[in-house]
Each structure stands twice: as structure tokens, then as C-alpha cells.
């Protein structure tokens, strides 16, 4: 993203998508119906994809839309509708006041911790020059900066991921399968 040309527009859109994503996330947590909650979460994920593009990661933004909003959330909606959980009466909702207070306290503590961490300084030696990532994307395209490390330094992790996916597929099939006795 060209920071240099229109920095104000860039910042405006970053905040816009950030605020929309936070509002959608809040609506997601507070909705009674699981279907509405899932759709608000999809909205959050679309906004996050836009933020990834603004943060010079267009490929990650694309797979965010494809994998998260497109595949994972569709599976969630599919399960909600398969189990017929859409009725508001079915929804066992938020816990009691005590749990809400504890959850709120933990949320505030987490926020405070992370805001304290944002203030921390990182060594300048590690920092890339301004606009480096954008220049890299412009030079080699969106995919090459990720594909390079993925298939060189992280090749072993990549292969292990394939084993993980295979295990997940087998596990999902076995867990979802009806027992022989139930089927009859």
C-alpha cells in the first residue's frame, strides 16, 4: 500500500476497517441467535482481510477471505443449520452475573496488559526500513515473499502441517461417523 502518496487516506481506511471489525466482533459476542453471530463474525473477518491488505499482506488478505470467511465460517453455519440451533429458545445464553463480572475483569486485565506492551520499545536494529514490505510486494508480487520462506526455511513445518490436516480429516470422519449399532 503506498503510504507515501496518500497517508491520510491510508490511515483513515485502516481506522475505518478496524472500528467496523471491533463493532462487528462486539455484535457477534452479544447476539442471541448463532446464525446472526456467525454472520457478524464473517463481517469481522472481511474487515480483517482489508486490514491485512493495508498492512502490505495482500496474499494473506486473500486467503483470509477464501479460507476463513469462505470455508471455515461456512462449515460453522452448516453445522448450526444441520443441528437446527437457530431458534432463540434453544440458545442457552450468557452465564450468570458472577461469570460476566469475572469475564469482564479478565478482559480489562488483558487489554491493560497489551496496551502496556504496545508502549515497549523494540530494538531499531530489527526494524525494517519504512515501506520495505510494500516495496517487496511491488518487486516480486504478492505471493513470492511468503512462498520463499515457506518452501525453504519452513519446509519441515509445511510438511508436518500436511500430516496434521490428514489427522484432522481422519479424526473428523471417525468422530462424525454413526456407530453401527445406532444406524440400525
Amino acid at each position: 500500500m503506498p503510504h507515501g502518496t496518500l497517508p491520510l487516506l491510508y490511515t483513515f481506511h485502516f481506522y475505518l476497517f478496524g472500528i467496523i471489525s471491533v463493532v462487528s466482533a462486539l455484535l457477534f459476542v452479544t447476539r442471541k441467535s448463532p446464525v446472526a453471530a456467525a454472520l457478524w463474525l464473517v463481517n469481522t473477518m472481511f474487515c480483517l482481510a482489508a486490514m491485512y491488505v493495508l498492512l502490505d499482506a495482500p496474499f494473506i488478505g486473500v486467503i483470509q477471505v477464501l479460507v476463513y470467511a469462505g470455508a471455515i465460517m461456512v462449515v460453522f453455519l452448516f453445522v448450526i443449520m444441520l443441528l437446527n440451533l437457530g431458534h432463540p429458545s434453544e440458545i442457552a445464553d450468557a452465564r450468570g452475573l458472577g461469570a460476566k463480572l469475572i469475564a469482564g475483569a479478565i478482559g480489562v486485565a488483558l487489554l491493560a496488559e497489551v496496551f502496556a506492551l504496545i508502549k515497549a520499545r523494540t530494538p531499531d536494529l530489527l526494524t525494517l526500513p519504512e515501506g520495505y514490505a510494500a516495496a517487496e510486494v511491488a518487486r516480486t508480487g504478492a505471493i513470492a515473499p511468503i512462498a520463499g520462506p515457506l518452501f525453504n526455511e519452513y519446509l519441515l513445518a509445511f510438511e508436518v502441517t500436511s500430516v496434521l490436516l490428514l489427522a484432522a480429516i481422519i479424526g473428523a470422519v471417525i468422530l462424525g461417523k454413526r456407530k453401527e449399532a445406532d444406524a440400525r
Binding site: 490511515t11 485502516f14 478496524g18 471491533v22 466482533a25 457477534f28 459476542v29 448463532p34 453471530a37 463474525l41 486490514m51 491485512y52 498492512l55 502490505d56 499482506a57 494473506i60 486467503i63 483470509q64 476463513y68 470455508a71 471455515i72 462449515v75 460453522f76 453445522v79 448450526i80 443441528l83 440451533l85 440458545i91 442457552a92 445464553d93 450468557a94 452465564r95 461469570a99 469475564a103 479478565i106 478482559g107 480489562v108 488483558l110 487489554l111 497489551v114 506492551l117 504496545i118 523494540t122 525494517l128 514490505a133 511468503i146 520462506p149 515457506l150 526455511e153 519452513y154 502441517t161 496434521l164 490436516l165 484432522a168 480429516i169 479424526g171 473428523a172 468422530l175 462424525g176 445406532d182
Partner: protein, 97 residues
């Protein structure tokens, strides 16, 4: 943009934590976990912009693991629903002594 991105990431993560702690519907709790993963991904991408593209590779792995987790977790929820006819976490207390 690093500070702003971390700011939004922190807020989204806290919302996810509060959702996990307050909701009783197993599927919504599960979606809150996905929201937390997304918040961490945002941090990764923001750091990748400042400290090198490797962070984006981690996002890639996080997404893969999230997909595997969603598949297995939803299969567990379906098996649980078939067994108990509910996804209310209050009624699923088999492991409570």
C-alpha cells in the same frame, strides 16, 4: 501502523476471551476461539510489516491449524449433539467429578 494494528488486535482478542467466558452455546464459544486466532493473526501481519515477511508465514500456519481445529471441533460438537441433544455447555459436564 504497528501500534494501531496491535491496538485493534488487543481489543479483538479481549472480546474473544470475554465471549469464551460468558457464552454457553458450544458453537459460539468455538467461534470466539476463531476470533482470538484472527486477532493474533492481525498482530502477526502487523509485525511482519515492521520486522520481516516471516510473520506472514506464521499466519499461514495458524490458518491451517484453525481449519483443522474447526473440522475436528465441529465433528466433536456433532457427536456430542447426537449423544446429548444439546450444545449447552452447562448440560455437558460428564468430566466434572
Amino acid at each position: 501502523m504497528l501500534g494501531e494494528a496491535l491496538f485493534f488486535s488487543a481489543i479483538l482478542f479481549a472480546i474473544g476471551v470475554v465471549g469464551v467466558l460468558t457464552r454457553r452455546n458450544a458453537i459460539i464459544v468455538f467461534m470466539c476461539v476463531e476470533l482470538m486466532l484472527n486477532a493474533v493473526n492481525l498482530s502477526f501481519v502487523a509485525f511482519a510489516q515492521a520486522y520481516g515477511v516471516t510473520g506472514q508465514v506464521f499466519v499461514f500456519f495458524v490458518m491451517t491449524v484453525a481449519a483443522a481445529e474447526a473440522a475436528v471441533g465441529l465433528a466433536i460438537i456433532i457427536a456430542l449433539f447426537r449423544h446429548r441433544q444439546t450444545v449447552n455447555l452447562q448440560n455437558i459436564n460428564l468430566l466434572k467429578g
